[in-house]
């Protein structure tokens, strides 16, 4: 990718700072508009959307901090969309949509929407957002089925770049086509919400261009990219040059299938960081291939978090990160490959990059996180409404440990979204949540431990339903770093602790009947550093909280805990820890 060159005019640093701040707040405000006007659970409760501001040439200048999967692909998607609608073909109040997985963020549910912004006759930029729609048709409710899905056409309705709003008015014919091809009407409302967000963004962008003049505004936008690029190059310059390797795997792509090997060679070069997936397994006939756009997104998210975590992301930064993946591999499949459930691949993409980076900047990385389990529960008749229902039942575990702190409990990573409150979930779908709680002793132990696994049990209240499960780490644990242990594996159990108890496959589709209990248990997140070096006071605090058992404290952390009242047995702990040290020495000799 060619370097970004400054425009041939100067800009005073004060105006520059002011415009930059204005663009960032524009992106944030577009996000709050989208959230507050949306209809589906995915957008309004899950925050599964992103926003951005682009310059008149289609360069991404500012983003709202929402979903990394969208943010990394946005810069490239918009350029491809604008190839279909060159300058002059769009007017104010227009909006182009696209959900093609190769152009967009890698699966059909993600709809991009692009709106040009004019000051008078002059094009000054674009307002852009992307939202994950709860259903776009296809083989299974939620359009994220893995098993038996071989190609994109099975996964739902697809739009190459298409004009949906013209001068502020929707094309109702197209909306009707969409309505006829999806399972729930939320999609139509969410498209209106996306348009409202772009209108709010366009107004703000226009006001900035007016205040500072379109020339100066354009110079500022270019300067933002130039400065970001310089900062990124400086950050890369500080890192030790070389190539670092890491590998991990996905459990499988459905019952009875082989694991997917993920191989990373990360190179710190003079002027860029290269993430190379050479050696990664081939694309599969299952709905979880990660298109290049998506793979790129999570590579960027990992690299950015250890180079310029606080800097606003834009094209100036991401152009310094190069992604290489063999065509036809699992992380760069050929067009047509099925990809609906590719979100389950996000963690592994991120984690192989992070694992390689751990050899470069161990102070800035995290161990593998729990990830999520996101079954869709659906049915044709809700007893509350008489209508079909479809609900995401996401359970999200904890974050991997950092070299200097424990991983956060129950927090999305590396994806970023909000959960649906139990009260909202029960109000909107015929399910009854029996429990939602952390699972003790599930985190990878370490000097700093990972976040605990989460358990969420739900009971079906409708007569019959269907669950399309989606998860991973049921076979391969989230890794720890520098002697930190792995977290526990995930599981989905049907009717636990009953005679009919049954372990479900992480990617299977199953029929449910009234009263069935689906128990989702995420993986535990990986630890960091030797558990026997953990501060005993922290171990005691976890024991008191009921998150670590007295046995685990003794056997894994080498901390002896007395009961009634709970306290550290200092002498016994000293013995345990010195015995451990001896054991290590003996092993070494």
């Amino acid at each position: 990718m060619s370097s970004i060159e400054p425009l041939d005019t100067t800009i005073d640093p004060v105006t520059f700072s002011v415009v930059w701040g204005g663009l960032l707040s524009t992106a944030a405000e577009m996000g709050s508009t989208l959230l507050r006007t949306a209809y589906s659970m995915t957008v309004r409760e899950g925050s599964d959307f992103s926003t951005g501001v682009f310059d008149a040439e289609g360069n991404m200048v500012a983003q709202g901090d929402y979903s990394p999967g969208h943010l990394g692909s946005m810069a490239f998607t918009v350029r491809q969309m604008l190839d279909y609608y060159p300058v002059g073909s769009l007017g104010p109040g227009d909006a182009v949509i696209c959900n093609d997985p190769t152009i967009g963020s890698g699966h059909l549910p993600d709809f991009f929407m692009v709106t040009p912004v004019y000051l008078g006759e002059r094009l000054v930029g674009y307002a852009v957002n992307i939202a994950h729609h709860i259903d776009v048709g296809g083989s299974a409710p939620g359009s994220e089925e893995v098993v038996g899905v071989r190609e994109t056409c099975q996964e739902g309705i697809r739009f190459l770049p298409t004009l949906l709003f013209k001068n502020g008015e929707p094309n109702r014919e197209i909306l009707r086509i969409i309505e006829a091809n999806v399972r729930v009407k939320d999609v139509i409302g969410d498209l209106h919400a996306q348009f409202a967000a772009n209108m709010v963004g366009a107004n703000r962008i226009r006001a900035l261009a007016e205040q500072y003049g379109p020339e100066q505004f354009a110079t500022c936008m270019r300067q933002i990219l130039v400065q970001s690029q310089e900062a990124m190059l400086a950050a890369i310059d500080e890192l030790p040059k070389g190539t670092y390797h890491f590998s991990d795997k996905l459990d499988d792509v459905g019952p009875g299938t082989e694991p997917v090997h993920m191989q990373m060679a990360l190179t710190i070069a003079e002027d860029r960081i290269i993430c190379d997936f050479e050696g990664t397994g081939p694309q599969r006939e299952a709905g979880m291939n990660a298109y290049m756009q998506y793979t790129r997104s999570y590579c960027i998210a990992a690299v950015k978090s250890v180079t310029l975590p606080r800097a606003p992301q834009n094209f100036g930064i991401i152009r310094c990160i190069e992604i290489r993946a063999p065509q036809g591999s699992f992380v760069n499949p050929k067009p047509g490959a099925a990809s609906g459930a590719r979100a389950v691949t996000a963690n592994r993409i991120y984690e192989v990059v992070m694992g390689a980076l751990a050899q470069v900047v161990p102070d800035r990385v995290i161990s593998a996180s729990s990830g999520f389990c996101n079954p869709k529960v659906s049915g044709s008749v809700s007893p509350f409404t008489g209508k079909p229902f479809l609900a995401w039942m996401s359970a999200v575990g904890g974050v991997g440990a950092h070299r200097h702190r424990d991983g956060q409990e129950a927090t999305t990573s590396p994806t970023n979204g909000t959960n649906t409150p139990v009260e909202v979930q029960e109000m909107n779908a015929p399910v009854f949540i029996e429990r939602m709680e952390l699972i003790p002793d599930s985190a990878g132990a370490g000097r700093f431990r990972g976040g605990m696994a989460l358990r969420k049990d739900l009971r079906l209240v409708a007569d019959i339903g269907l669950v399309t499960n989606l998860g991973d780490r049921y076979e391969n644990q989230p890794y720890g770093l520098e002697g930190g242990l792995s977290g526990t594996c995930a599981a989905t159990v049907l009717n636990p602790d009953t005679p009919g108890e049954r372990y479900l496959h992480s990617k299977g589709t199953y029929a449910l009947k009234k009263g069935d209990v689906l128990s989702m248990r995420t993986a535990g997140a990986g630890g960091f550093g030797d558990p026997k070096l953990r501060d005993p006071a922290r171990v005691l605090s976890d024991v008191r909280a009921g998150l670590v058992s007295i046995e685990a404290a003794r056997d894994i952390y080498a901390v002896a805990i007395r009961t009634a009242p709970l306290a550290i047995d200092e002498a016994a702990t000293a013995m345990l820890r010195s015995a451990t040290a001896r054991g290590v020495l003996e092993q070494a000799s």
Binding site: G22, R36, G189, H192, M199, V200, A207, I433, R435
Partner: protein, 692 residues
Amino acid sequence: MGLRIGIDIGGTFTDFAVLDPETGSFAIGKVLSTPADPAEAVFEGLRGLMAASARDMTAVSEVVHATTIATNTVIQRKGPPTALITTRGFRDVILIGRQKRWELYDNAAGRPAPLVPRHHVFEVPERMLWDGSVETALDEAAVRDVAQQLRANGIVAVAVCFLHSYANPDHEQRVQAILQEEVPEIMVSISSDVSPLYREFERTSTTVMNAYVMPGVANYVERLDEELKRMGVDGPMLIMQSNGGVATADVVKRFPIRIIESGPAAGVLTAARFAPAAGTNNLISFDMGGTTAKLCLVEGGKPLLTSQFEVDMTHLKKGSGLPVSIPAVDLIEIGSGGGSIAKVELGGISIGPESAGSVPGPVCYGRGGKRPTVTDADLTLGYLNPGYFLGGEMSLDAAGAKEAIDREIAQPLGLDTMQAAWGIHEIVTQQMAEAARAVTISCGKDPRSFALVPFGGAGPVHGARLARMLGCPKVVFPRAAGVESAVGLLMAETSLDLARTQVMTLDEAAIPTLNALFADLEMRAREQMERSGIVPERQRFTASCDMRFAGQGYEIAVDLPPYPYTVADLSALREAFFEAYARSYGARSFETGWDVVGVHWRLRATAIGSVLTMEDLERLDGDVSRAIKDVRQVWFPETEGFTPCTVYDRYRLSAGDVVSGPAIVEERESTIVLPPDSTTRVDPHGNLVTEL
């Protein structure tokens, strides 16, 4: 009617304002705050004031008070051992939260520590459904068992929050009764009382915080109340709530969460007081202090309210704090103030959120600060007088400030020192402008129809510039800005917000339910008002509702016409929503055929009081030369550099005087910067009204 006293406890000073409603005469005072026991400063200041005015406390008929005690208890985690009782299976609701990361790329970012540790969360068997029906009956024996565990664990306060209790409070109420029997020494907060709104994490967080601050607030309020009575005060002590209304000590002891934003609310009310001076009911209150600035809109003379905010945030980032679902003045807080540090970042100047605080403080304080701050820039520009800071109590190091700006900002960016100083001043003001635009332009409100009211130490320095950026035509610099919040308290009215979640489509079937709901809320409001000694003739009620289109997840606040309703009112109710929606999100973002749903139904009860007026300032000959104290060089972009600028003493200005910009007006607690091409009049009450 006797004297009315306003007391505002701040971080550094406790401010007093005393008004004699009969003569309109008023006095102000200030003593150093006593953080270890905030009541000490109150008593000391009161005794001083009374002695100075030769009145005694028996002449006082009402004391209105704003305090930061509740917020500080949370931020400093000073509350006593507090517990939470939840529905079985949901022990971790406060640890799980909403699961989003507030800082997307920072691998080390954390969440605030919960106010209740996991080992103090107790589960009991019980379960409600979303329609209010009972799925599992409350296990009372288990509750009694938990009660004993609370006592054994030394718990002082407990929050009770069960799933769907907003739809049916029976189980929570029963638990409260049982705890009262078993462990009467423990203070209990139940979520269906504190914040009966759906979304369990936010409701639990609110209830837990109520429980957490309750012992400290109750103790403080009781002590203050008793002492005031002992000193001879005959009337009630009222406390400012986050929503801008005052409540009695009795109500505050039960719902201390309502005073979390007590201090800032007093400030905003203050601003609202200047509507007549500004000649408009639309104001932007702008309070800029040392580390943060707070903005709030006042529309139609009333501060704008929000139904949810956060406490204990990191870098004021959304999602980083503990959520509270209680109506509060809708403050936008910005992490920059006079002490914010300026630095070069990514080729531009960035300011805050890092602050030099008071130690070491800005470079010009000469206490070891090395990094330039906003105050250093203001001094370098000539806005501040190095010899008259805090009325001359402190002298400022102008050379040091200039040198730091030159070294840290000007040289790295290739600017001259004055350009850099101006850059700092402009960028920090621009940050305020961005925040103000987010609540005006973006919501379809034109800042050109608002007047700005700056206060706080740095507010008057930046106020006129901010107004110019926003296009506000007028700025009102209040008299006695230094104790402004205390004066504002004198104007507060008693108010109370009640709410209930009931999701209802706006159709014919909803009308009777709606009428019953408001009748019930009104009955509860009347009860609470009467307990506060407010006679029915003074009680007023207004209804509002948070509405959305069916299927959406977030509501917008809509003011409703007076209830009760008939079927004929349906279209007016829907229309009120459409209007509010189009204002926020644009007229083309919806179709009018879609179903409209009401979710949180709210009733605001207010007690109308008497309007208070202050005595006027004397009008003199209009010759302002009497107030001139100096002429000094001051830097303005309009004059492209330093220009000779007249400096006035605010205390020597009088009613009717006119000052032309550029000019500086100095007072003890702040400095007013009046830019070129502005005209300022002193109004009869002593406020400076600037036209830009």
